[in-house]
């Protein structure tokens, strides 16, 4: 028997050979399009209504803020406001807007639009309030009680009046959630503005196919430095393996949230065609214990669980070493970090003892919630959950792993339906307030909560409020260190890890700057 191929004539063989070559060669990717492969879809595209990075990474390109951050840092710089003045008592902020900026729909970006963008979140009687309530981020940062009024003093001047001085306020205004939106578009689309976002940024929204892709196109009329790449595609590829294959097949330019073990695989298999951007993430992954539910209302139980979990093991195995164990709810790269808090080195014997003292000699049953998609601070939540499940079983606690679709997961945890839930936070600004106040203050333990540990401590609240008010950096450091010490003793949640942010991309991608706050910004990126 002979192989069929041998019988073919020359031209057929040539044709076949070319076919094989065409399949083997990397596909030619158009320079005008950059495809970003990420682990999950956006929840919504109205920046005021969402809290997750997958949404913000898109809105970040469409919208702009009064102030923004110098790329790659958390330093505040001018945004659509060219300059600003802060009154001596720290209560009045006056912003002067740049001239001639227009939203993508042609509406002028003036003081009126800025007032509209804040009023719709601040004022329950505002006609647009109902289109997007609840504004979780606005409340999580306490802006609903902090901002007394926003007013247009002139067509290009906006005045914010605060109820009390607050040090992180200016940085907060640079967060994606407080972007300036087109009033015309919000009034036109109402609730559907989340699917038809209109801003003034370097990219214009084109289409969104749910669970597949979001497509943006460069804004030809952008007032600042125009985007270099014509088309941006945010593809959702939730399966880690599929995303890896797409990267290896060069079907995507930049890959988000690679599974920790895949980084080695990418290096080995792709060699010179791949590069990695890397920096310690401004993040924390944690296990929230629902303090409102039994038995987590008991501090002994919370401490016991802290002792029972082997963070080092989780990092060595599931994180493949690309993280460091956490002891505080904020990362050590941030100022004000307290290295001397009470620590809970892995000690199952001690954990059992504490459980016995708390009256749970035989342990108990709980649900352990795990995120359904990879997050920058935790790339394989289900495996982390399994590791924790094993650790807890060793001290007699039976944990059942529960998971929901991402939007539902956020919604249900914000309502406090969980016993224990894995979660994490990437800082939006370089301020401890953005971690400690958001994640653990009693103000944020109200549904829909960002403090999904539902931890309420008046002493901590006093310290955090004091730290917000002060502008004296030294005093703020002392206060935040105190806050971390209190949190460590009370153990309302278990900080697990601060992960390294690693972004694999093709070597043809240039000028991508990895951001400490985990943003994925492509406005300045070019393709070779």
């Amino acid at each position: 028997m002979t192989f069929g191929l041998l019988k073919l004539n020359f031209s057929s063989r040539l044709f076949l050979g070319l076919m094989v070559a065409a399949i083997c060669l990397p596909p030619v990717v158009l320079a005008e399009t950059l495809i970003f492969g990420r682990g999950g879809d956006s929840v919504g595209l109205d920046p005021a209504r969402v809290t997750d990075g997958e949404s913000f990474n898109v809105t970040d390109h469409i919208f702009e803020n009064l102030v923004t951050f110098v790329p790659g840092t958390t330093d505040v710089t001018a945004g659509v406001a060219s300059n600003w003045e802060i009154s001596a008592n720290g209560l009045t902020y006056t912003f002067t807007l740049r001239d001639g900026i227009k939203f993508h729909d042609g509406t002028p970006l003036n003081a009126e639009a800025v007032v509209f963008s804040f009023e719709r979140q601040l004022n329950e009687k505002h006609p647009a309030y109902a289109f997007g309530a609840p504004y979780i981020y606005f409340k999580a940062l306490g802006l609903d009680t902090l901002i007394k009024s926003v007013a247009a003093a002139a067509p290009n001047k906006v005045v914010f009046t605060l109820t009390k001085p607050e040090a992180p306020f200016l940085s907060s205004l640079g967060m994606q959630a407080f972007a300036i939106v087109s009033p015309t578009a919000v009034n036109k689309y109402k609730e559907d503005f989340a699917r038809n976002p209109v801003g003034s940024g370097p990219y214009v929204f084109k289409t969104w196919v749910k669970n597949q892709k979001v497509v943006l196109e460069a804004n030809a009329d952008y007032w600042g430095e125009k985007a270099k790449i014509q088309k941006l595609v945010f593809r959702s590829i939730p399966d880690n393996n599929t995303r890896l294959m797409e990267m290896m097949g060069q079907k995507i330019h930049v890959m988000d949230n690679p599974a920790p073990d895949d980084i080695k695989t990418l290096k080995e298999k792709m060699g010179k065609s791949i590069q990695f951007a890397q920096r310690p993430g401004l993040n924390v992954a944690y296990l929230a214990l629902n303090n409102k539910k039994k038995p987590f209302d008991n501090v002994l139980v919370r401490q016991a669980i802290h002792y029972a979990i082997n963070k080092k093991a989780i990092i060595a195995s599931v994180y493949a070493g690309n993280a460091e164990p956490a002891k505080n709810p904020m990362p050590p790269t941030l100022w004000g970090y307290n290295d001397d808090v009470k620590t809970y080195d892995y000690n199952p014997v001690k954990a059992k003892e504490l459980l016995k003292q708390a009256g749970y000699r035989d342990g108990f049953k709980v649900t352990l919630w795990a995120m359904p998609i990879p997050r920058p601070y935790m790339l394989d939540p289900r495996k982390v959950a399994e590791a924790i499940q094993g650790d807890l079983a060793a001290v007699g606690i039976k944990a059942q792993i529960v998971s929901y679709e991402w939007g539902t997961y956020l919604d249900k945890t914000q309502k406090g339906e969980h016993d224990m839930a894995l979660m994490g936070w990437t800082g939006d600004i370089g301020d401890p307030d953005n971690f400690l106040y958001v994640l653990l203050d009693k103000d944020n333990a109200k549904v829909p909560a960002q403090n999904i540990s539902f931890y309420e401590n008046d002493k901590l609240h006093t310290i955090l409020m004091e730290a917000k008010k002060t502008t004296d950096q030294k005093k703020r450091i002392t206060l935040y260190k105190q806050a971390q010490a209190i949190i460590a003793i009370d153990s309302p949640m278990i900080p697990l890890a601060h992960s390294l942010d690693i972004v694999p991309m093709l070597t043809t991608v240039k000028h991508f700057v990895i951001d400490p706050t985990g943003r994925r910004q492509f406005s300045r990126v070019t393709l070779e």
């Binding site: 080695k264 060595a316 495996k383 959950a385 650790d391 792993i401």
Partner: protein, 285 residues
């Protein structure tokens, strides 16, 4: 004992493949029953220092992890052994559910015929119109994902084959002389159906039960793979593959061995079932 030996010998001579299927199944049952004594390591014990230890025959292999370890350092072989127990239970219970409901439905439908038969068989047709795994997924979606619910779902979708087979057989049997004799003797309908007739169609049923076990194990693995069956840390075979697939580039043994286990088990059930069918069918003798 001697009789059993000669029976086996006879079976071996006529159906060597089926005989080996039986041997594999016996080994599996043995493994499942004595999992505690056979496995060298606790299947749930985690040890991060052992992460991705390859199987023993590769250079980095470590005793006693004969088939290597997973990302949390759990022993693959021990998990497979405990998984064998689960898989056999799943097969047994799912088929039991199918048989317990399917056989009486088929008997009654076939014996009475007429309207009852039409109604029952249309309902069965309705169930058959859906792909069985899809139907099982729907049922699990309603009941919630857990191993018990997966078994119930698979059991429910295996009712139609039983009902159909039994009905077809009963249609052929009900006019036979022994049934007429039973009737003439004044036996109750119940004892005719569940006594005489059932006794006479037992052969093909046994075949369906054997073949059904293999199918049920495969379906359960499928559901677990989709996250709808066994929940972590339960070492069900399908769940093991689902876990392992994330690390296919780093640790092939995480999906290779559970896959092999499912393949061998299902094949053993199938070739044994086939042989049993030929054995039970007088025409092929």
């Amino acid at each position: 004992m001697k009789k059993l030996y000669s029976l086996l010998k006879n079976f071996h001579q006529k159906y060597p493949a089926g005989f080996w299927g039986l041997v594999i199944l016996t080994l599996l049952i043995f493994t499942g029953l004595f999992a505690e004594f056979i496995s060298l390591v606790d299947p749930l014990a985690q040890d991060y220092t052992l992460k991705f230890t390859p199987p023993l025959w590769s250079q980095a292999g470590k005793w006693p992890h004969i088939l290597g370890t997973d990302v949390l350092g759990r022993d693959v072989l021990s998990r497979l052994i405990y998984g064998a127990r689960l898989s056999l239970f799943i097969g047994l219970f799912a088929v039991a559910v199918g048989a317990i409901f399917g056989i009486p439905i088929g008997l009654i439908s076939g014996y009475y015929g007429g309207k009852i038969d039409s109604v029952v068989m249309r309902l069965i047709d309705l169930m058959l119109a859906f792909p069985s795994l899809l139907l099982a997924i729907c049922i699990v979606a309603i009941l919630g994902p857990s191993l018990v619910n997966a078994v119930i779902a698979i059991g429910l979708v295996s009712i139609p084959p039983f009902a159909r087979l039994v009905r077809a057989r009963v249609l052929g049997e009900r006019e036979k002389d022994y049934v007429l004799a039973d009737r003439a003797m004044g036996k109750s309908t119940f004892s005719i159906i569940f006594g005489s007739i059932l006794q006479n169609i037992w052969g093909p049923l046994l075949v369906l039960i054997t073949l059904g076990m293999g199918g049920a194990i495969l379906d359960a693995a499928g559901l677990s793979f989709l996250g709808l069956g066994a929940q972590p840390p339960t070492p069900e075979w399908g769940a093991l593959i689902a876990e392992g697939k994330n690390y296919v580039f780093q640790a092939y043994w995480l999906i290779f061995f559970p896959g092999l286990a499912i393949f061998v088990t299902v094949m053993a059930f199938n070739i044994f079932g086939d042989a049993l069918r030929d054995y039970a069918d007088p025409k092929t003798k």
